[in-house]
């Protein structure tokens, strides 16, 4: 498209616009649908960005943290704990290793047993909290060494429940992207239908314009401009409402779990602003295709 045509499309030609009669109700429907689609797109986008963030966060946090559990008879427990801590201190890649105190272990169990049960009297295994540094440690090697020297130690690096969580977050992000693509496709289909309806309803106008020597491109532009601007306006309104909706969601917090993390962060707030221009682009392409096809069929 030439620069002149693009400028004409954006700035418009007030007189050329009047050539096609105004269509109140259809125009409002187009506005409404593109607004609703943009609104949904904002949420799909928020979901995709939040689940991506969650996947990365979980993968990173869980990769670093591990728990060492020492199951030993009461008289050997202290000795084995000391031995295990010694091994952990020598292991490259382990940043800190700390045995949990009796009170901390009791606090962890409180949700299950209640505060009144004397947890301290139970033969509990000793827990050691292990935090890896950025480089990480060799879990398999550590496991083998512990097996030889501290028979009661079981290393849990959380892989078992980390992998499905990260997979779930990735799947959620994929679903969100598929939704965004579907929303785009549905918008294109809807605009194509509306443009075809408008072209059919204005068949007489098109005939008169052809009769007085209008080029197909001139006629098409009158329709393309209309639908592009409607999609742009509708999508802008939808995005504003969608962003307000996302903004009103509670702040991310530990108590709320992952649900409250839905939303945009930092530069992420700028991404939904791409939806209106993209919606306009979709409408432009859909109307251009519909108009070219329709006008080509006329004599």
């Amino acid at each position: 498209m030439s620069e002149g045509r693009l400028r004409k499309l954006i700035l418009g030609d007030a007189q050329a616009d009047r050539v096609v009669p105004p269509s109140g109700f259809t125009a409002q429907l187009t506005l409404f649908v593109s607004g609703a689609m943009a609104f949904l797109a904002v949420f799909a986008l928020a979901l995709s960005m939040a689940s991506g963030r969650l996947a990365d966060q979980w993968a990173e946090e869980l990769a670093r943290a591990a728990t060492l559990r020492i199951n030993a008879p009461a008289e050997q427990r202290t000795a084995q704990t000391e031995a295990a801590l010694e091994i952990l201190r020598q292991t490259p890649g382990v940043a800190t290793a700390r045995a949990l105190t009796g009170e901390e272990q009791a606090a962890l169990l409180a949700p299950w047993f209640g505060a009144s049960v004397p947890v301290g009297d139970l033969p509990l295994p000793q827990l050691i909290e292990v935090t890896g540094d950025d480089a990480g440690y060799d879990a398999q090697g550590l496991r083998l060494r512990l097996q030889a020297e501290v028979p009661g130690a079981v290393l849990d690096d959380h892989t078992r429940w980390r992998a499905p969580l990260v997979d779930a977050a990735h799947a959620l992000r994929r679903l969100a992207w598929v939704s965004i693509l579907l929303i785009g496709g549905a918008t294109a289909a809807m605009i194509t239908l509306a443009a075809n309806a408008a072209l059919a309803a204005n068949a007489q106008v098109i005939e008169v314009l052809r009769l007085v020597g209008a080029l197909d491109s001139y006629i098409a532009q009158a329709f393309i401009r209309r639908f592009t601007l409607r999609a742009l306006t509708g999508a802008a309104a939808g995005v504003v409402l969608g962003m307000i909706g996302v903004w009103l969601m509670p702040e991310a917090s530990d108590e709320g779990g992952f649900l409250t993390g839905l939303g945009f962060q930092g530069w992420g707030w700028l991404v939904p602003l791409l939806i209106p221009p993209l919606g306009a682009l979709v409408a432009f392409a859909a109307t251009t295709r519909a108009a070219t096809k329709r006008l080509g069929e006329l004599s």
Binding site: R18, V19, L211, D216
Partner: protein, 225 residues
């Protein structure tokens, strides 16, 4: 200007025109007559490319009309002013904008043409009605507006299909007068009509030739009118 060479037209149900050959020379004035349904409108449509002949060739401005693409066809329409039988206006725009429509779609700057437009409105006697909508016009006013629209781009050829079909004798005289004036300015005119008295009236003012469609053929009907 426009040349038909052995043109035949078959609309599927049968042959309407057969071996029609005619030349519209620059500056000529032709009437096209014949009974209803004889193919007058079809022949006019063949001349301005709204229909393609099923046999023979149509040449306009030395171009084969059949080979033109849609854009070239649009440019051809700008050089041939057509007054349609039922006028064909954009009913949501006032008369003045309908008359200016060819200027608008061909990308002319309307503000430069303001004076021409006013003059043209005066010439067809529609200055008072400039801002009326087409459905509010009388039959004669519609025909005059259609004529004004057909000449606004100053085409070389003007084709009118029954321009006096719905108007009284006085109004048809006035329309004829306008066509005669255009012919004196050097325009090539082709008018389809079944109104023989109109043709007789024209013969007093202009060197008009009469073409008659009869039995699917085109004949030059000369002095017998």
């Amino acid at each position: 200007m426009i040349e038909l060479e052995n043109v035949g037209y078959n609309y599927g149900g049968g042959e309407l025109l057969n071996a029609v050959s005619v030349q519209l020379a620059p500056g000529s004035f032709h009437f096209l007559t014949g009974p209803s349904g004889a193919g007058k409108t079809t022949l006019l449509k063949l001349c301005y490319g709204a229909l393609n002949p099923t046999a023979g060739r149509v040449r306009a401005f030395n171009m084969d009309v059949h080979g033109l693409d849609r854009d070239q066809m649009a440019y051809l329409r700008r050089r041939v002013g057509v007054v349609h039988q039922d006028c064909r206006f954009l009913d949501h725009l006032p008369v003045i904008e309908n008359i200016a429509l060819p200027l608008l779609v061909s990308g002319r700057e309307l503000s430069h043409e303001e004076a021409n437009l006013q003059e043209l409105l005066n010439w067809v006697g529609l200055s008072e009605r400039a801002h009326a909508l087409p459905p509010e016009l009388s039959g004669g006013e519609r025909q005059r507006a259609a004529l004004a629209r057909s000449v606004i781009l100053s085409p070389d050829v003007i084709i009118a299909d029954e321009p006096t079909g719905n108007v009284d004798w006085e109004m048809s005289q006035r329309l004829l007068q306008l066509l005669v004036e255009l012919n004196r300015m050097g325009k090539t005119i082709l008018v389809a009509t079944h109104d023989l008295s109109l043709i007789r009236a024209a013969k007093n003012q202009v060197q008009a030739r009469v073409l008659r469609i009869s039995n699917r053929q085109l004949q030059l009907a000369g002095a017998d009118l």
